[in-house]
Amino acid sequence: MELTGVFPFIKLLSKRVLYAILTIMVAVSVTFVAIRSMPGDVLYTLAVSLAEELRISVEEAKKIVFYIYYGIDVEEPIYLQYLKYVIGLLQGNLGYSTYFKRPVTYVVARALGWTAFTLSVGISLSFAIGILIGMLAGFKRGTKFDAIVSLTSTVLSAIPGYVVALLLYIMLSARLGLLPARGAYSPHVEPGLNLAFMIDVLYHAALPVLTYVVITFSGWTLLIRSNVAKILEEDFLKYAEARGISRRRIVTTYIGRNSILPIVPLLAIRVGSMIGGSTLIETIFAYPGMGYYLSLALSIRDYGLLQGIYFMMIVATIVAVIVVEFLTPLIDPRVRREVVAT
């Protein structure tokens, strides 16, 4: 970064962070309202038993239970409850899981890693595969190979993520029994830095990762393919060739960099939608990531967990978006100018 570029960069960063906080606030408010209207809460059951025990009214007991679990006083005006809830979040208090009988942070700490692991491996793999196939198809535009790639990619990108997960589950796990579809590692291995554990983890992550790869790589392929086709027409390519630049350098520095850089920002959007999509995929594979706990929380009516997990999903998405957004100008000089210009 040039020195002149630093100030606008900071300005943009603060603007982005502001947006991020705004987004999180919107999402949190929606869930705050939603949670208030949910039926059949576990807390209600708790309140009923507490009422019997202490011989107080259910309403009274509910107040106590709410105060214990959420730190919310239901008698307070709604905005004050909301404020306290938000302050709690800021202090890192994600709430309490009635099912696990532990703070939500405990569950999140275990789940976040698995989701981050499978998602990052899945998306990096799909990005790499997409680039490879896309570049090949772009070079061989108009050939049979290109036609097959573009049709397959269109078909693949039309299949919903959970359908892919189901099909892979049926084929590779239920029918052929090649891959496990339960948990993140087997109960018999000792978690830690040992080879057996690591192999087992990879073995268990195979299905979710494969699903992420299958549902995302076709999108990258189509994008890279059309970018390469566009760049092949560019004057700078013709001029590089006329200057006697070697084929290898043209493919890497000229075609490669120029076709890949513009799609890097899309990684963020993809990561965002995949975090959301992981709910169904992790549930199908019973893979203990964020998405799995989200649907678990809903089915066992553990609203504290639900709210906490959802909050973390939003934060994770937005962090991913911001990281990519600020990585892009560092690697793409054209975007850098736009950043400096705004």
Binding site: M38, T154, A158, I170, S273, G277, L280
Partner: protein, 295 residues
Amino acid sequence: MTSYRSSKSRLKLIYLDFVRPVILSGRGVLGIAIIVSMIFMATLGPELIPLDTGVKPQMKWCQPSLEHPLGCDYLGRDLFSLVVHGSREVFLIPFCATLIGVVVGLSIGLLAGYIGGLARRALTSVTDTWLTIPSFPVIFILAYALPKSPVSIILLLTLFSWPGLARAVAAEVSSLKRRDYIEACVNLGLGRGYILFREIGPHILPFVAINFASVFVANMTSLIGIVLLGVAPLNPTNWGYLLNQMIFTYKGLLLANASVVIVLMILMLVFIKLGVVFFAQSLEEVFNPRLRRYE
């Protein structure tokens, strides 16, 4: 199209402009065929095919045959009849949600694009914020919280159906507004209505049509997805509910013959989605006269 005396008749022009491009692309024909059969299934289907409600243990997970095109479910009921009866809900709810979303998105987009300046920047910020929120968990949670009625599900899906289009339309309108030929129309006093509907409108139409198709498909996927996870069971014939029962309650994936039935049903879903995507692709060709393959 305005009528004029020329060597080509109006009908022939409509054929050349709209019908031929679709026919020429095989995907377009396939897409239309799938969409037409979808509509047929949802409208006349339930009237023609009676709902199979009888529990027949001997027919449990029976394989596809002429009599049972999709096989039978865990209770031995004909899956095809269930699917046909479920199709109304599975198509109608996303359709309504998409319709509302597109109307809202289009109006906001047109307005923001036409006014431009601050209005457009405000819209962009709002939609950008909106689009970063992972939509599926929100729909998922809210579907649980809201009353279990089709109306609330429609409104829920609408929440995420408008921002993409609004943004695209606003960007397109504000770029079109600066085109020289629009300036020429302003210059020649052709009026706001003419410019909006005859000059800008036709350029927006492809966006709207293609967006409608893709949002519809996304909504359908979301609806089936949330029902599949056991949230918001509206109707026992909802495809998501059928899949949920077959997969999670009756563990059909562990049985070989059940898997065949499930895979068939899943492939049907894929097929429908593909049909809409192909249709949207051929629309692009129709709307772009430069891509038309005649001289």
